[in-house]
Subunit: 367 residues, 2 copies
């Protein structure tokens, strides 16, 4: 590792378990893109998605929430030539209920599935959480099914979606591919990427193969038999853990999909750091600093109306709108989102979970 790299390492940390900027500041996404060998997801690519799918780009694309990619252009080239692909995302089921940050990759994935009309596999890594969080096998399995309810509630199309939990699904072609991947990855390599120590257990060391394997279509013979060259697109977040919280330092500040309207309002009022000024006079005079304002960050994610968002930002920055008003509007937006999710979740029966997780062909997945 060169000195420059070392310095960069110390500045910000982004790995599967930690996202932290230097001195508690902001993540430098440009540096991150360079370091991970990605490309920027720029306007021309967003326009191309719009043109190819005929669907308006998702708010997460328009506002740069999903900001980088690897080889997305190649997927689109193939798609333009009539070759479809499949989507793969997942979740480690470590808790009973999800917070808003957890929902973001699923909301975006649902948009991609609808826009491109492609199949989707969702991996629930109950084995990972059993190992990392020291949960029992049974408890990890139970949480996976609970989380499947929340995922289904996001509105995925059952004719194109296969949800699986590792403890039930690993085996056969999937296990064959795990071994093939393991053969290609040395211990030194995973230590370089994940930073394991000699006192970490061997389950952690080999786990990367379990998460790599769903990106190969031959891992799902019931879905993709004979389609070994099918490409896979993986929507993923680097910092959904942070996104879900009103205050980075307080895990209780996260808004959960189970929170009541009152809880949401209280969390926003108590924890959401404001970019507004200390006094009404100063606020009217200088306006709010939107760069550090958490309510604005949340509205950027969850308020779909571009015009309204622009209006709020403009008025707030100019000091004509107060923090209290922005927080009130945010509480409305999040309460509506959470209520809608709760309603959808309550409609998800055990039979629906079974149906989404059934090992079955999806004959209409590309229609």
């Amino acid at each position: 590792m060169g000195e420059e790299e070392l310095e960069q390492e110390q500045e910000q940390v982004v790995n599967p378990w930690e996202v932290s900027a230097k001195d508690g500041g902001k993540i430098d996404y440009d540096k991150l893109i360079d370091k991970f060998g990605c490309q920027r997801l720029d306007q021309s690519l967003i326009d191309r998605v719009h043109r190819l799918t005929g669907s308006p780009p998702h708010v997460f694309l328009r506002r740069g929430v999903f900001f980088a990619h690897r080889d997305f252009n190649e997927i689109l080239d193939a798609y333009e030539g009539g070759k479809k692909f499949y989507l793969y995302t997942g979740r480690g089921p470590s808790s009973q209920s999800l917070h808003l940050g957890h929902l973001i990759p699923f909301m975006f994935t649902k948009y991609l599935q609808e826009a491109f009309k492609v199949p989707l596999v969702i991996q629930l890594t109950d084995d990972e959480k059993c190992m990392w969080k020291n949960l029992s096998v049974e408890e990890s399995k139970r949480l996976a099914r609970e989380n499947a309810r929340d995922i289904i509630a996001c509105g995925f199309d059952i004719t194109r979606t296969f949800i699986f939990q590792d403890f039930e699904y690993v085996g056969g072609s999937f296990y064959n591919n795990m071994v093939k991947v393991e053969k290609c990855v040395t211990y030194n390599k995973v230590v370089g990427i994940f930073g394991f120590s000699g006192e970490d257990h061997i389950g952690k060391v080999s786990f990367p193969a379990v998460q790599a394997v769903p990106s190969f279509p031959s891992s799902f013979p019931h879905l993709f038999s004979g389609k070994d060259d099918l490409r896979c697109l993986i929507p993923c977040a680097i910092d959904q853990g942070e996104t879900g919280k009103m205050s980075a330092s307080d895990p209780n500040s996260a808004i959960y999909v189970t929170d009541s309207a009152k809880e949401i309002k209280n969390k926003i009022n108590k924890h959401a750091f404001s970019g507004g000024q200390d006094s009404l006079e100063k606020h009217r005079k200088y306006g709010a600093n939107l760069e550090v304002d958490i309510p604005i960050k949340y509205l950027n994610f969850f308020l779909e109306d571009d015009d309204e968002l622009e209006h709020i930002k403009k008025e707030y920055a100019a000091g004509r709108v107060l923090t209290g008003e922005v927080k009130k509007r945010l509480a409305e937006v999040l309460t509506e989102l959470v209520e809608r999710h709760r309603l959808a979740r309550s409609a998800v029966t055990d039979e629906m979970v079974d149906a989404f997780m059934a090992v079955r062909p999806l004959p209409n997945m590309f229609d």
Copy 2:
């Protein structure tokens, strides 16, 4: 590691891939027993097996081929109290055909199954050979089925025997247990036991869990559901690799179950190191040194008649029997064994392999 241990390490090496004594000498089994925390399998234990099963002890027990154990007494205590156990053994299918050394653990296991009337699981680690020998998944699977034929030809009872290959069977409860075992084993631990380096791939690092798991009855719900406290006895060899060869340094000197009578005779004559003297005169005068004589070692394994063996050893040691005569008798014994095996193997149909490997209950396995 203390100095004494270090010294011992340098003296002899016994691990899953290498068995070598200091300066090409003999393995010190007493040291090995100490190092691995085993107990000697002494005459009183052999007598107890005889008494409990009513079957005469196998030649491998009588002649100390299987010479050590861990907690075999506890298995026998339980058995005496009416509690049965199950047997677990296995093979890494790295070659099309087996040599005589490979057969030894299976011959002994068959005796144990018959004597104790207990079920047996046989693991074919095609995944291991795919990783270690860099075979393709398909070729490893094919070899596993070929080896299953040889194993079935040893005469196992299909009503008590379940043979499985990892690439087909890993999953479900078996995989759940793999994760549980992995959680208990650190990287440092496996490096201490197996000597991996950082450039070894992560499949090797986590593989010990795959081989540990069959010793837990819950890994086989179709066999042992509700019998989570069933004990497991694992017959295994420390040096079957060596045992199979006439000359430790020449892998071609192994006698394969596919060899013809002529090949067997030639291999014995050409490779089997003799403890006899250089000249007839000296041999008649000093006799043979049985300690280093390979034909005698082989007769000790495979000539079942105790009286005949004792007679040959006595006469040979006294110089009244010549090396050529001993080798001739050995060729007869091995040819008969190999012919019998070949006949049995040719009777093993694809359907029989399927039947032994079917994931099924064994309702009469303890009868």
